[in-house]
């Protein structure tokens, strides 16, 4: 009996009227855990009952503690008929099982009913007493921490990154059981909610076990998804990255938000594994007690097919999936290239070493998207795989084997793609599905990379360790751009040039990745959201015919999306994409493709050539003119974008050679390149000269349409920036004002005979209009950046297109940006000054030699015009390793943002920040009001953000993962304001429930929040609608950067409790 769960029901408030005669309610509460149920007394005739119950105690296994939610049902007592349910609260007690997380759950929870929504609130107290369990064969994994955050959580350092963990559980969907015909919609919804809660508990427990087996203590980048397969079942699956995390000393915590994870390397390494298990990969894997996945020792060569696929009787649709396999283009973009001459042997050695560590893993995948500095050595490009499956052909739908095999297949393919790019690992890895009737598209994508082997072994993070000599000598600002594959044996055609930053190694002309922009990357100007949108009609079909049709379409869609992305990237004069996410959604008669990414100009990569329009038939004068006018428009757009995004790369080489009197700055740069290797410069010039413009050929009306659609994308209005990554390069001075939002739009296509072209237009307009709406709605937050713009598309029904977006608007301080420039002084233009911080830090971190040279250049160079340059100069001698320099850099940044926080405070006190409420500002107005308000504002403000941090604040505690699933149904759609009114209130209710759970855990914010699913079904004729929403995130306590104590305290709850009693 390893655990005792205790729950106490304190009070209720704002209950609905259940007895029409008295306009009151006789409420009581049932508390259920597992199969045990307790009841409170009936509190007669009140809408604000005070039960103040005893402690209900449940003695349970910790396995159950992990799987089961605490279920609280509020009912109205009825003497003569059956008691009516008012609503329910499910409380996930997982956060209480972790010693480091929350210790008590206490607060007001919305009472939720799947038909009526929120109906009042209930105050509950929950505690858990865990007994130590020394049983080695235990089935539970209490104590393993879970994080949705896809980076090493703030305040922790990764002692070890163990790698990929995955699990999948299947159950019959209650909605498709025979009993559903006779039970009420409410009962059916509740059965489903409960089942999913149980399944995700089980899933988490199983993943936890795998982590413990690997010797880890946490899962980072935990990504859980539901597949509503319909008849064949309900699948809950999750992937994540197992790590051994250690708490930071508080000092290094300060202000890591501008540049995440700059600190871990500076920490001393304590013993990472608690249970004494050897966590080293090379030795861990061969041990007999490996994870249950069977294909551990498969040959990893991409040519050998996974042995199970032909033999499985269930994969009768293998024809389609095979077609798919062979046709799916390798979306890998980017390059790397042979190492510089002197770096060659070292690099080979490094690669071998890393490979031995990684290749013994079944899947060297990481769900993380941002990493400690130095973790990424080279980035190859995006790898993705898709496969079309038929759900009605699953041999044994109740068992997970078939789905396991499907994903196995996909992952093998990803792995082989990565190999083809000369990479041994995949980062920023994610998986998703799209289901329409019996067809299911499984997709996976990630970024092929070469990782630093030091992170794979114990004790690796000590700076002075012997491994240091294997460190890639490339500077961190550009090292990851260098091609990992062999120049002579490139996996795809790409133009290689020498790196524009260090000029020692080859870089590709463009780089696509699924990860966040590394903090240490050198970037020119700002970035922006780039989307490719595509609709493809398909014939309605059934079964295999349908699956084949879909898998035949997929490669074309990927190709077109890719072309669009490339064009749009060039149109913005950028050369790299981060956070690339391609979603392909299947409907009955169409496929939707949406690719989103954040485009930036990486300083290390060559400037993109323009776009050149070419007519197929030359000679026609009209045509020529037309082409010329389009060409002009394109050129104008490029020029405009350059200005807009402040892309002003130093045109070093051309001017350096061509102009007779080089500017001092350029001279210094030239000097630097010469000092390294003189012949490289000439090579560089050659390649630069050869660079071709991207040619678009206009041969038919389609192409014209394409070009028009290319130009249709409006750039964000002044004051707005957009990205789908965590932050925008070039913006550091965030204020504490954040506004997270979710927006959903559904379009009904009225015209039955639409062409692909007009569909594309409609879809593009839908996305563009959404963005326009955001700009307008959030105009009071200007200047601001819409970060982590996450678009999800779906085809819920024939002729319906659904787009859901979750993002956060983060306000930054414009004045301070300018201030920064001013303090830097100098005669540089603003554009040029956008990147000096990066540039200095990078160049100085290459090696001591360069940095000292840098600090010696004349006054009006970028470096010396910075106030901080003196520091660099004086420190330069001591900077023997780039790690130290990185720390130095982190230090400078920290210094920079002390200013920010001060500024924020003053903002918070001014009335002008009305719209941007923050918990920070909460105290004052409340105390002002307290004299007049009845209960006072007793609700803790809870901030939510899809990012892993909140600007201006410091996360002092992670309280556990929030993973909630809700169903809402209505049979009075019109009365609830139509389908918009229905969904509006449902989303608001979901937010409210997330906030309430976080507040009850003692938290004041949710980071890495995401809405995984929003499945809406409607039938306006029957006045009905149903919606399922799944959300997740990490509950945290954060404090203002300068404070020690949490911003809001738990006393609020007590106050509100008593205050309400008085009402």
């Amino acid at each position: 009996m390893p655990g005792k769960l205790k729950a106490k029901i304190v009070a209720g408030r704002h209950l609905p009227v259940m007895d029409r005669a008295s306009d009151l309610t006789d409420a009581f509460v049932e508390v259920k855990f597992g199969n045990t149920t307790f009841k409170t007394d009936v509190f007669p005739k009140s809408l604000n009952p005070q039960w103040n119950s005893e402690w209900f105690k449940f003695e349970v296994d910790d396995e159950d503690l992990q799987d089961e939610p605490l279920q609280i049902t509020v009912l109205d007592h009825d003497t003569y008929s059956a008691n009516d349910a008012i609503g329910k609260v499910y409380i996930d007690i997982d956060p209480l099982l972790c010693t480091e997380a929350a210790s008590v759950i206490s607060g007001w929870f919305p009472i939720y009913d799947t038909i009526h929504g929120i109906r009042g609130e209930i105050n509950v107290l929950v505690k858990v007493e865990l007994f130590n369990d020394l049983n080695r064969f235990r089935q539970s994994s209490c104590g393993v921490k879970f994080f949705c955050t896809t980076s090493i959580p703030r305040g922790y350092r990764a002692a070890m990154v163990h790698g990929f963990v995955e699990e999948l559980v299947v159950n019959e969907d209650p909605e498709y059981q025979w009993i559903d015909r006779i039970r009420t919609p409410r009962a059916s919804n509740e059965a489903r909610q409960r089942l999913i809660s149980l399944m995700s508990g089980e899933l988490q427990r199983k993943i936890g076990l795998k982590v413990l087996e690997m010797g880890g203590n946490a899962v980072v980048g935990y990504l859980q998804c539901f597949d509503l397969e319909g008849e064949s079942g309900l699948v809950v699956r999750a992937i994540g990255t197992a790590c051994t995390l250690e708490k930071h000393s508080s000092g290094s915590l300060v202000n890591t938000h501008t540049h995440p994870n700059t600190a871990p390397a500076s920490n001393a390494c304590n013993s990472p594994s608690k249970d004494g298990k050897e966590p080293v990969f090379g030795e861990d894997l061969p041990s007999s007690s490996g994870p249950p996945t069977p294909f551990r020792n498969l040959p990893t060569s991409s040519s050998s097919p996974p042995p199970f696929s032909p033999s499985k009787p269930c994969s009768r649709q293998s024809s389609s999936s095979d077609t798919d396999l062979s046709l799916t283009p390798k979306t890998g973009m980017g390059s790397g290239g042979s190492a510089g001459k002197e770096a060659g042997p070292l690099k080979t050695l490094l690669r071998q070493q890393t490979q031995t560590a990684l290749e013994q893993r079944e899947f060297p995948f990481f769900t993380l998207t941002s990493f400690p500095p130095g973790f990424l050595v080279h980035v190859g490009g995006v790898v993705s795989a898709r496969s079309v499956k038929l759900l009605d052909r699953i041999h044994n739908p109740d068992e997970p084997e078939t789905r396991d095999a499907w994903w196995e297949e996909i992952r093998q393919e990803i792995k082989s793609h990565a190999k083809a790019l000369g990479c041994h690992a995949v980062v920023g890895y994610s998986e998703n599905t799209s289901i329409c009737e019996e067809v299911c598209i499984l997709s996976a994508s990630g970024t092929a990379t070469i990782l630093n082997p030091r992170y794979m072994r114990e004790g690796c993070l000590d700076i002075g360790s012997t491994d240091h000599r294997f460190d890639d000598p490339s500077p961190p600002s550009c090292g990851f751009c260098h091609i990992p594959y062999d120049e002579l044996n490139m996996p795809f055609p790409a133009q290689l040039t020498y790196c524009y930053n260090c000029r020692r190694q080859k870089v590709p002309d463009v780089l696509f990745t699924t990860i966040d922009l590394p903090a240490e990357a050198a970037v020119t100007g700002k970035g922006c959201l780039i989307q490719a949108r595509l609709c493809r009609l398909k014939k309605k079909a059934q079964g295999e015919v349908n699956a084949t049709a879909i898998s035949n379409l997929l490669p074309f869609m990927e190709y077109e999306l890719h072309t669009q992305l490339m064009n749009k990237l060039k149109l913005r004069s950028m050369n790299a994409l981060f956070g690339l996410h391609i979603q392909i959604s299947v409907g009955e008669n169409m496929l939707l493709g949406l690719a989103s990414a954040t485009g930036v100009y990486l300083t290390a990569l060559p400037a993109p050539g323009g776009i050149q329009i070419a007519g197929k038939t030359s000679g026609d004068l009209n045509n020529e003119q037309h082409i010329q006018s389009i060409q002009k428009r394109i050129n104008d757009t490029i020029a405009k974008n350059k200005e807009l995004y402040q892309i002003n790369p130093p045109e070093l080489t051309e001017e350096g050679v061509g102009s007779p009197i080089p500017e001092p700055r350029q001279r210094s740069r030239l000097f630097r390149s010469h000092s390294e290797s003189s012949d490289e410069v000439s090579e560089l010039d050659l390649s630069h000269g050869k660079k071709d413009a991207f040619v678009l050929e206009i041969d038919d009306t389609d192409a014209v349409e394409d070009i028009h659609s290319l130009l249709i994308d409006a750039s964000p209005p002044t004051g707005f920036y957009t990205c789908n990554t965590e932050t925008m390069p070039g913006i550091y001075n965030w204020t504490t004002a954040v506004q997270m939002f979710t927006s959903v739009r559904v379009l009904r296509l009225s015209n039955a005979n639409l062409s692909n072209q007009s569909l594309n237009k409609i879809f593009t307009d839908l996305c563009e209009n959404l963005l326009k709406s955001f700009y307008f709605k959030l105009r009071s937050n200007i200047p601001c950046c819409l970060c982590h713009l996450n678009f999800t598309v779906a085809v819920p029904e024939e002729e319906l297109i659904q787009v859901s977006v979750t993002a956060v608007a983060m306000t930054f301080d414009k004045d301070q940006t300018q201030e920064r420039f001013i303090t830097k002084g100098g005669n540089e233009t603003e554009e040029q000054l956008q990147f000096p911080l990066e540039l200095c830090a990078d160049s100085s971190s290459t090696n001591t030699q360069t940095s000292s040279k840098f600090s010696g250049v004349p006054e009006n160079t970028i470096v010396s015009s910075r106030a901080a340059s003196v520091d660099y100069g004086s420190f330069a001698d001591r900077c023997s390793t780039w790690l130290e320099l990185l720390r130095l850099k982190a230090h400078t940044i920290r210094r920079g943002s002390v200013k920010t926080s001060r500024r924020t405070q003053s903002l918070a006190h001014s009335v002008s920040s009305l719209e941007n409420c923050s918990p920070l500002t909460e105290g004052r107005p409340r105390s002002l009001r307290s004299s007049r308000s009845f209960g006072g504002s007793s609700v803790t403000m809870v901030k939510m953000t899809p990012l892993s941090f909140l600007p201006g604040t410091r996360i002092i505690k992670y309280l556990g993962i929030i993973n909630m699933f809700f169903i809402r149904e209505t049979t009075s759609l019109r009365e609830e304001g139509g389908v918009s009114g229905f969904l509006h209130s449902f989303i608001a209710e979901v937010f409210a429930m997330v906030r309430a759970h976080v507040a009850a855990l003692g938290g004041n914010a949710v980071v890495s929040y995401s809405m995984k699913d929003c499945v809406l079904m409607e039938n306006p004729n029957k006045n009905q609608a149903q919606c399922l929403i799944n959300v997740s995130g990490d509950a945290v306590i954060c404090v203002r950067e300068t404070d020690q104590e949490p911003m809001t305290s738990m006393t609020n709850i007590g106050q509100s409790c008593t205050a309400d009693g008085a009402t």
């Binding site: 009904r748 296509l749 009225s750 709406s773 719209e915 504002s937 609700v939 918009s980 906030r995």
Partner: protein, 357 residues
């Protein structure tokens, strides 16, 4: 192509004050869009009409969902559905309970019943306030009335605490409740020149001086009902006009004091008995509910109109009433000084307030 669904939900509820006002004023979504476009909001953010429509719809939906909470403002502070910063909550409540002076002028003193509610479209047409807005305002009056009806303690404070209103607004509501409860006649043509603020001021005077609450502050309805005992005592003032000697004595005292101080002296002297009779008669009749209702019309007919026809200035009125009140104290045989002061204090300030064009 039709937008089937379009929602935007912020973790912190986004509310535009301008749109809120349009909603409160009862504009339809389409009309609100037109108003906003005319206001030039489109230029701000490179938006178009669709964007504006979508935004307006979203906000209107939010307000509709909030309305239930605004009707019992104490709930707004501890509800969980909308995360609204406290200062925004205050704004929402204050604006929701704000009313048009022109509208309230029409229903002031009327019974807050279904019957009156049926006339709202007429009132709307007359005042130019949309029916929707009229209904909200009327329902607010009724709601406040119902809640405070059953509460003990000071009226203004009760309203302030229960509806979380500002002091000013709470006082206005107290006036509305007071007028509705006593059914004061305010609609007669002769009273048309008076604004709501005039009446609100008078109500404040009456509440503070003539109600039960003025003497005892723990009774139910203390601030709503006039002090019956006091009204009874007012009958005693009749002696000021029935006793010939007393009347003459009073007159000569007042005239002596006024002589040479105003141009309207002759009119004052000539009208003294008339005016005094008017004021004292009002006092003695207040035991009748019917006469309470006519309190303001009586003040106008019996005092304000005669003065106005004689072209008294406000200063004249002030001077006259001050001496009229004070001189009574010097009358030896007049024993009802306390009642007289309690009565005249209110009459004086009411007439000051009401004496304008």
């Amino acid at each position: 192509m039709a937008v089937e669904l379009d929602v935007f939900v912020g973790n912190t509820t986004i509310m535009d004050e301008e749109v809120y006002q349009l909603w409160l004023d009862g504009y339809t979504v389409n009309d609100a869009v037109k108003v906003r476009m005319a206001g030039g909001v489109l230029d701000e953010c490179e938006a178009n009409q669709d964007v504006l429509l979508s935004d307006t719809m979203d906000q209107y939906r939010t307000f509709q969902m909030c309305e239930r909470l605004l009707q019992s403002p104490a709930k707004l502070a501890n509800q969980l559905l909308f995360q609204i910063p406290p200062h925004r909550q205050t704004m929402l409540i204050e604006r929701y309970y704000a009313f048009d002076d022109s509208f309230v002028r029409e229903v002031l003193g009327k019974k807050l019943s279904k019957g009156t509610k049926k006339d709202l479209d007429d009132i709307g047409a007359k005042t130019g306030v949309t029916l929707k807005s009229c209904r909200r305002q009327f329902d607010n009056f009724k709601r406040v009335f119902k809640v405070v009806e059953e509460l003990k303690g000071p009226l203004v404070e009760n309203i302030r605490q229960h509806f979380l209103l500002s002091d000013k607004l709470a006082r206005d509501y107290a006036a509305i409740v007071f007028f509705a409860n006593n059914r004061f006649e305010t609609g007669k043509k002769k009273l048309q020149y008076l604004t709501f603020q005039d009446f609100a001021f008078c109500a404040g005077q009456l509440i503070n001086n003539w109600t039960v609450g003025a003497v005892d502050n723990m009774v139910e309805d203390m601030d709503v009902d006039l002090d019956k005992e006091f009204l009874q005592e007012l009958k005693e003032l009749k002696v000021l006009i029935t006793d010939k000697d007393l009347l003459d004595q009073h007159k000569s005292l007042v005239c002596t004091a006024l002589r040479g101080k105003t141009k309207a002296f002759t009119e004052m002297e000539a009208n003294f008995k008339n005016l005094s009779r008017g004021l004292v008669n009002i006092a003695t009749k207040l035991t009748n509910t019917k006469d309470v209702r006519d309190f303001f019309i009586d003040l106008v007919e019996k005092f304000i109109e005669p003065c106005r026809s004689d072209r008294w200035t406000s200063a004249d009125v002030k001077l006259y009433l001050t001496h009229y009140t004070n001189s009574a104290h010097i009358l030896d045989s007049f024993k009802h000084q306390a009642v007289w002061d309690r009565y005249m204090g209110v009459i004086k300030s009411c007439i000051f307030k009401m004496y304008h064009d």
